[in-house]
């Protein structure tokens, strides 16, 4: 049995990479990927706790998250393509119409 600390550590690292990715990335595709990374980090932590406590709830919940993430990715990519068609760029810093 692997110590749960290792799972949590990996999860935290993955989540941190995701957060930093969202903060620094100018590419909207990379940004979406970073969001996925954060979701999966969370999934990993949920699975780990689920195993430790010998419960199946966590597994079921992770599948739900995966499904939602897939849907979200589909909608997100569709939006990115539409925006790209309009503005001819995927640089997120240029998408700044909603400002003062």
């Amino acid at each position: 049995m692997v110590n749960i600390t290792a799972f949590l550590l990996v999860g935290a690292v993955l989540f941190g990479i995701g957060v930093i990715g969202v903060m620094v990335s100018r590419n909207i595709i990379v940004l979406l990927m970073a969001v996925e990374l954060m979701l999966n980090a969370a999934n990993l932590v949920i699975i780990a706790f689920s195993r430790v406590q010998n419960l199946m709830d966590g597994h079921a919940f992770v599948f739900l998250v995966l499904t939602v993430a897939a849907a979200e990715a589909a909608v997100g990519l569709a939006m990115v393509i539409t925006i790209y068609h309009n503005r001819r760029t995927i640089n997120i810093d240029r998408y700044n119409l909603l400002k003062w």
């Binding site: 903060m23 620094v24 940004l31 997120i92 998408y95 700044n96 119409l97 400002k99 003062w100």
Partner: protein, 647 residues
Amino acid sequence: MSDNLYLIPLLPLAGFLINGLFLRYMPRRFVSLIACGTVGLSFLVSLFLFLELKGLPAEFRVIRQVLFSWIPSGDFQADMGLLLDPLSAVMILVVTGVGFLIHVYSVGYMAHDHGYGRYFAYLNLFTFSMLVLVLADNFLFMFVGWEGVGLCSYLLIGFWFEKKSAADAGKKAFIVNRIGDFGFLIGMFIIFWQLGSLDFMIVAERAPEVFLAGGTVVTTVCILLFVGAVGKSAQIPLYVWLPDAMEGPTPVSALIHAATMVTAGVYMIARSNALYILAPEALLVVAIVGAATALYAATIGLVQNDIKRVLAYSTVSQLGYMFMACGVAAFTAGVFHLMTHAFFKALLFLGAGSVIHAMSNQQDMRFMGGLKKYLPLTYLTFFIATLAISGIPLMSGFFSKDEILWKIFSSEYGHTAFWVIGVVTAALTAFYMFRLLYLTFYGHERMDEKTKSHLHESPRVMTVPLMILAVLSIIGGWIGLPHIFGVTNFFEEWLAPVMAAGGTHHKLASPMLAASAESGSIELLLMLGTLAVVGVAIFAAYRVYRLKPELADSLASKMSGAYRLLLNKYYVDEIYGVLVVRPIVYLSVFFWKIMDVLFIDGLINGLAKLYEGVSESLRIYQTGRIRSYATAFALGVALLIAYVVLA
């Protein structure tokens, strides 16, 4: 017929609405028909009701008509109710009768004015308000009329509002009246608080039960009501608005500022006689103020040069006379003089209007003279009115003035000092009226050639009312002949039911007087004495202004101090200006500039500025960049977690 009481005020109101709403679309002929017709009809209805009232036995002479309940609120009950009793019958006859004549006169006088329709609309509104005032059956409804006539007075004084002096005079009248109204209102509140009703009859009934005779409360009430009367009837110290009110058209001066509105105070006190009889101290105040005003205004009238101003001060003085009568509890005598004064003073003003009309709007008597042959009818009627106001025997003014003087002398509330003031005032009145007559109608023609070539007698529509009023000025007093003539005083008997509480039975000051009053010797003696004094005054005026016109100037220069004091009306306007007007203006400027602009506006605007500044500094954070929002969000979450974990 008695069901038609409401028609009396309603007809002029209808006239006002028709003329006021459609004056742009109606020819002048129609406007004058509506205005005069409604008031004339109202007069006819009044006459019928008067006859009906006269047909009833004396103690049942009350016609009441409650139109509807106006303010039913718990204990407080005020109706729109009309009350016709002998007192209000006299008043409505004067108001509609004299009012009708003045309406007709105005058709000629205002013929060339561009505000013709507006003028008649206001005049009808005034007649309506005045009728409400005298017909109301409670203090509150009376107050509606009271304020209504004040409003119309304001509108008509400032009728030629493009002239600044007229607009200012209107404002002055309104503001000064407001001071008096304040007293009236407070007095009304106390009456309701103490008696639980404002109905005249209930008040008269309950007053003797609730109020202690001579007590503080009833004295306060009476003095407060008198403050209202002082404002409306132009007594010291609130008389200052009336002379300035002469800025209005002359028929307005005749109707509002001589015959009807200004007498509202006298009417109100006569109406409240049941209260006043309980407050001898308040009566004394009324008598003192009346006497002071009568004498004071008469002295100013001696030297004024504006024909209308002389008449205005004369009105103030005569009103003082009426208050003197009320002050010695001779309410009937006060109302009697009110009625005769309405006739001859309206006639004097209308005559003056005829003169001004002929003189191309010149009002200064120094530029008149010798008008007798140009304006024969005006002269004749004016002469009759002058005789009446001077108290020449058999004229109306003689009987009313004499009755007042006798009551002042003999009443238990009277005093010889008041009587002396009354006689001196009568002499002064005769002097300034004959001075006016001589300066205007006799002597050299002092006007310029252009005015002289325009001189003409007024049209028939103006002279006929003059003649009717002249007849009334002669015979108007015959309904109140003194007892010593061996006849019953019809007027006194007529008003007796209304003045029941006020003591119709004239209480004499001493038993000795009572004995001689029986024979009438003292009354006759006093009458002759007064006549002699008045005769001397008339002769003095004749000598100074007719025989030796240069004597007037030499007298004026000999007593230049006194002359200037009188000419400038004792500088009262200036004193009020310094003591009252200026401080209020300064205070107003303080409230305007400091309190309002600086403080309140500053606070509101400052608050808005604060929000604006804060928003300005915060808006830079709304960059529109998702990454910066994400960074802020992440940092925030991190801080929160740190707080939860570490704390």
